[in-house]
Symmetry: C2
Subunit: 403 residues, 2 copies
């Protein structure tokens, strides 16, 4: 069994880096705070006998040798970056559950048949740079390395430059680790486990995600002198798309649709906006439904552009197909062995393990979070809930190493 | 008659300061570019024999002595600040028509019975700092000086500090000029004169304006894990308000409604926005209709906040009542004397002359602008159209000085 208090203490210590007044965390990918968090992780892993490798997209691999180091390692991990209004658990808990497993093995001098690896993936959140799960996506070959290093934030700063600046632009090639299996612990981020009073969610599926940049090009003109019939108002058009996105989500079973990001040009009160860029995020566990939502969005925007004489460009720059986890039974077996209540569940969010499932048998362990609230500074899990997840991770990894 | 080519050359020279690729101008109030434009104006006025006074809100007064300097002066002017996507004419034309009048008097050694004053008003646009017509509003006593100096831009920079930094925080008290009348030349910014093929608009009224900050407080949460029924989505709520504003404008005769400004927190694609601040700009020439629009906006936001469990704060921070120009007949007389085609018109935009009308007989001279487009880099007027406006200004001022 892992050490519940120690796990909690590491969570609270890590949460100081970028800690906010409301008790959350604002630690965007590639920032100085991301560096501090990474440095702390590296120091903890080195102290527990690991050696460290960093790859060309900044993913960190801390390796604990096993009895036979030619065997593929059993790996775990998640991310240390957060949302601007993030909590102390999303991602971080998955990384630190790994560190707690590592320490438990280390202090008990447990020799595992295979090596074990403890990982941190770059920019999982997709908040500062897009898309999400960028580090794991590059690692498994879904994204092109150079293209992702060239991605810029809203201020035009390159991810590659930021990784270099904070000392995490490594030289290991993506895919060069010898993994045998991958497991990720994560808070659920939704209300289901809490409502069902279950300690552990055995994640069967990661739902599909589509991300869009929508650019509406209207025409700037004066708010006081331009009659309504002469307007090409990009703001009103964007509002109609956003209102429609909500309706679309309601129309489809399990449909979700969100606009979280918007930039307005010129953003002046008495100038009708001439250009608006905003995001759309569509999700569905059923790929066919997600395709229908996609088509409805395109059709709506096309019709709107005709009706209003505006140019609307919809760039569907990221499609994440629903993924089935093929090592879920390992998670379930460990959960049952430990006697935790559990249920099967699907992941609403994308996770690094979803991409790792491309390469190796993978599974995810969900734990409840308070009121189902995440991407919010009030995000919370209890020490007991976290400990249960880390215990399941420990035993899942040990079993996998034995095989 | 004024010198058309010289007027045009000064317009083009001034337009270089903050000139944009698309031929417009981006010269926000209180910036280094604003300073450059002000310095150029001051140098031109000094060269034509004026002395310069700057007041405590940064308004500039260039005074040309008359035959009797105890008499109140006849004044003109407008503003040199522009929108972020502004043109080379809005405001600037009114200032430089004044400079052209000054130069015409100067080179012909014309002695006027009263002094003449040529003015530049601070932050007329209301783009960087709110409200609009801030300098003239303080001058006439509509706004409190200290309160306006303490206003900040989106980065928290104080207007007072910016004026000091660029050397235009003067020490003259507002209201300390001895004005007898005020006339402002301005491009129409709308399509009416062009459509009617008239050279001059005799402005009878400035329509009413209401400006709002609307703050919607929802709850940040995850776009992929938060079911639709659990959301408190500030972005969707803002979109519904904006779509309703357009409908409201259509419901009322001559109604205009615009959202030009929006800030989204945390502005991350996979976080449901927890807080949105945006502007509303309502206009109507009829104060009763404007009041109804105001009440409808409040009622809509109240109902929406109940329906969606969100907090919506509507701050109606600026009300500009419709104003009648009581010296329009002077403008009309000069226009007819010069033989220009003309029509009566009302101003859709607010102007410094609207506030000056509080203190002294005031009038406005409108000239056509291409396609009625303003607050856009393509804003354009021909040299002939500008010259007509400046000629009317010259003769209106001369007549007023004679009386
Ligand atoms: N776990 C998590 O919040 N991932 C961010 C990627 C997503 O938007 O689902
Ligand atoms: N002339 C002009 O564009 N003024 C700005 C103030 C307004 O919004 O009407």
């Amino acid at each position: 069994r892992i050490n519940q208090q120690r796990l909690w203490d590491t969570l609270m210590e890590m949460g100081q880096i970028g800690g906010t007044e409301k008790g959350g965390c604002n630690r965007l990918a590639g920032t100085d705070l991301d560096k501090q968090a990474r440095d702390l992780f590296v120091s903890w892993c080195e102290a527990a006998g690991c050696d460290i490798t960093v790859d060309r997209i900044g993913n960190i691999f801390a390796r604990r040798p096993g009895l036979n180091n030619d065997l593929p390692s059993v790996a775990t991990g998640s991310h240390l970056d957060t949302q601007p209004t993030g909590g102390k658990f999303d991602g971080v808990f998955g990384v630190l559950a790994g560190v707690e497993v590592l320490r438990t093995l280390h202090e008990n001098n447990i020799q595992t048949p295979t090596p074990m690896e403890f990982t941190v993936w770059t920019n999982e959140e997709g908040s500062r740079f897009q898309p999400a799960m960028q580090g794991s996506g590059v690692y498994v070959g879904r994204f092109d390395l150079e293209e992702e290093l060239n991605k810029t934030d809203v201020d035009g700063i390159r991810l590659g430059d930021e990784l270099e600046r904070i000392g995490y632009l490594g030289d290991a090639e993506p895919r060069s680790r010898n993994f045998g299996a991958f497991f990720e612990t994560h808070i659920e981020q939704g209300p289901i486990l809490e409502d069902a009073e279950k300690s552990i969610g055995v994640v069967r599926l990661g739902q599909g995600i589509r991300w869009y940049n929508i650019d509406i090009q209207g025409r700037e003109s004066h708010s006081g002198t331009t009659p309504m019939y002469l307007r090409k108002d990009a703001m009103v058009a964007a509002s109609l798309v956003i209102a429609e996105l909500e309706k679309m989500a309601h129309r489809h079973e399990n449909g979700l649709a969100t606009t979280g990001f918007m930039q307005v040009y010129p953003n002046s009160r008495n100038t009708i906006p001439g250009h608006i860029r905003f995001s759309a995020d569509l999700r569905n566990p059923n790929p066919d439904v997600l395709t229908r939502m996609h088509e409805e969005l395109l059709a709506f925007c096309k019709q709107l552009s005709v009706d209003r004489g505006l140019e609307i460009k919809v760039d569907p720059f990221w499609y994440f197909a629903p993924v089935e986890f093929n090592a879920s039974d390992d998670v379930k077996a460990a959960t049952e062995k430990l006697g935790y209540s559990h249920m099967d569940i699907y992941a609403g969010a994308g996770h690094d393990a979803c991409y790792m499932a491309d390469l190796v048998p993978s599974g995810m362990i969900f734990t409840p979070c308070k009121d189902g609230i995440s991407h919010n500074e009030v995000e919370y899990s209890t020490p007991e809930q976290c400990a249960a997840g880390a215990n399941v991770l420990l035993h899942t990894m040990l079993e996998a190493s034995e095989r």
